[in-house]
Subunit: 427 residues, 2 copies
């Protein structure tokens, strides 16, 4: 494919494939590709502006289909160099789109129900997709340390990706995180620094570090590399459509943390339409939150355009962002596409985790309980049409949030004899 | 492909693809396909005898390459019906073969080092491969309950597969298993029965149940369905060769629990040679054990043909079978191919888990620590040639054995200030 070479603000020439510049989502102001995330004119979020090569649609489709079984099959549509598949990274993506007939029966879905199961990624969450993009940007900008603030999934994804790619990593987490999560992040051998404070303190500290000489050469995947990082979520949209036979789903249920994933899935679907890879037809995007952290759902139901921050209190910790940066964009997309935003209680999350496990053999993280639980609730309220093709996202792995289902246990305890077996009523 | 229909001992007609009969590994006595595992003549283990259809080699290769990205691409070589990919199951396999250049540098391997990472399977261990075969046999024999004895990985794999396929499941485990492992198995909603006793008591009870009317309709994946179940490990050999570009590896390091996996990998490699899918050339198979459960390694080093049982005491619990049924066959294969069997201490296992994580971003189960640790030891002792292409198996996921690396933690704890950051020497 034709390579775009663009001068960055630091005057380095970077090759990030079809990424041509950064463009402000609010005012449209364009700046060269670089490790910046906020518009210098209006402080709006910067995102990637692409100049896709003039492919023939069928040629592009053939290239993608002949590509590797990971996100790099879509390299021509991502801010990465064309030879990305040959560089050391974790090669995430191309996770299973599971046709969930058993779950469909339980929920009364007749139009086809699918679970996009991102627990199949290398570190078992969708974060591997976004970190892989940030890593390529870090390479392009000459960074040598990969960093982030995190409370769990992201820490492991960054630690693993940095290890494989030969970067130093330094990840910041609240100092009192559960020991299991610390181990999952520490095992990759990078620096793992506990900050005396809560997640907000960690974030504030990272922003300070970016502005300090001590942070030179550091790529914070979810801060100064955020425009690149966020694009990784587009690959969920691409894969879903390709796995459906190059077809848009009618309805898609997406979890909301910052809201970035939902907006990028919408962006990915629209790109496929524009490129002619899927037929243009209406689709609805639904957002899913936990009741204990439901700022977007609350705003949606109140008819507001802005999101009022909340103090999170839910077991769905990977979604517990009380002040979601992309909340207003999520509201816009849900309304524009005819979708909705809904939330479920912690109890409903646990029920939904168990429902998905016993119907499809998929053990989801709490975030997966949120999307499945919300899907059920949306069907009951008539907002989601059970006669249409529906895709539900599971973005993480149940092994990472075992505590949520800790009440699950033995159905019986018996002596090792047939008599005891019969007495327990198991025969 | 041409379908084999064979009358079972119970006179039902079953379609298990190219599986033609069961054949005794010791005396060669053949019996029809059925839920039996021991030879009626000599009590030797029964295994599948195939009649592969008369494919043209290049046609078979094209069929496989055009097949699904899971084990069913090899359906023509497995004891499953030709339409298996359309049946509800977890579709395991086609996991990543990771080119491990960083690890190779650490270990001094120059001939190419690869990690076959089976943590990418649906329930994150290689057990999904074998359970998927047993499930098809259970379907063919009309069983309605899927069962097993287990201490961990297998319980989850059976629970998940049964849930997805619409089978009842009833899994037997020692009653005092760690709570985390109980949750991982219980979440799929099947019966999970604690047995008051150790793993041997659980096994003995399962054998009793098979002979009892109460066990009618029950398929015990690792007992009466064992001949089918075991074949799933062949897919590891198929995938490794296909992922190497249809080429045999020079050396392969395999963990040993019962020894079944190692023998089936050898069988799979030989089948590919016979079918002309890979060029015939020498390969060496190495077996890896934990020192705390090393009956096969001990016999290998002593030059014995038989294996003396041991009482396991190691953190590598998924390999802790003190009396490995296939031990003698493993010894034979290691000696015949010019390989070896070696063991490592628990400390070396933990070191190897961390080594793999920090070099390749792969977080392995203790069994993966065993194979990586043994690879290092074999190179040091000169038994494994670093100038040859080497494949090391990781059969499970580190998230399942977090306790093994529980000592891993924060590298520093700081206040959320740049001064504190600098004081900690992190800049």
């Amino acid at each position: 494919m034709a390579v775009q070479t663009v001068a960055t603000s630091s005057d380095t020439t970077v090759d990030l494939g079809p990424a041509a510049a950064l463009s402000c989502r609010e005012c449209g102001h364009r700046v060269p590709l670089g490790p910046v995330f906020a518009c210098e004119e209006c402080f709006g979020p910067l995102e990637i502006a692409y100049e896709f090569s003039a492919y023939d649609t069928e040629e592009l489709r053939r290239r993608i289909e002949a590509g590797p079984a990971n996100i790099w099959r879509y390299a021509p549509l991502l801010p990465v160099p064309a030879d990305v598949a040959g560089k050391p990274n974790l090669n995430p993506g191309w996770t299973k789109l599971v046709q969930a007939d058993n779950l469909a029966r339980e929920l009364g879905v007749t139009g086809g129900l699918y679970v996009k199961d991102d627990s199949g990624n290398p570190t078992h969450s969708f974060k591997d997709r976004v970190v892989a993009q940030a890593l390529e940007a870090a390479r392009a900008f000459g960074f040598t340390t990969l960093s982030c603030s995190s409370t769990g999934n992201l820490a492991g994804a960054v630690g693993a990706a940095a290890a494989r790619a030969g970067f130093r990593s330094c990840v910041f987490i609240p100092h009192d995180l559960e020991q299991g999560k610390v181990v999952m992040a520490a095992v990759y051998g990078g620096e793992l620094v506990g900050i005396e404070g809560n997640y907000d303190d960690v974030n504030r500290f990272c922003s300070e570090l970016i502005g300090d000489p001590a942070g030179e050469g550091w790529g914070f995947v979810n801060v100064n590399l955020r425009p690149y990082y966020a694009e990784g979520s587009k690959t969920l949209a691409y894969e879903i459509c390709e796995q459906l036979g190059w077809r848009l789903p009618d309805q898609i249920v997406v979890p909301i943390a910052s809201g970035s994933q939902l907006t990028k899935i919408d962006k990915g679907l629209q790109e496929l339409v524009k490129l002619g890879l899927v037929e243009d037809r209406p689709y609805k995007i639904f957002g899913a939150q936990a009741e204990g952290c439901s700022p977007v759902s609350t705003a949606y139901k109140a008819g507001h355009d802005v999101v009022r921050p909340q103090k999170p209190d839910t077991i769905a910790k990977s979604l517990a962002i009380g002040n979601p940066a992309d909340g207003p964009y999520v509201l816009d997309i849900a309304r524009r596409t005819g979708g909705a935003v809904e939330d479920v209680t912690d109890e409903q999350i646990v029920d939904a985790i168990k429902l998905l496990a016993r119907t499809e053999g998929i053990f989801a993280e709490t975030a997966g309980g949120v999307t499945v639980g919300v899907t059920r609730k949306l069907i009951e309220s008539g907002l989601l049409d059970p006669a249409l093709t529906t895709v539900v996202l599971n973005t993480g792995d149940g092994l990472k949030t075992l505590d949520a289902v800790a009440g699950t246990g033995l159905t019986a305890t018996i002596r090792p004899t047939l008599d005891s077996f019969r007495e327990a009523g198991l025969a």
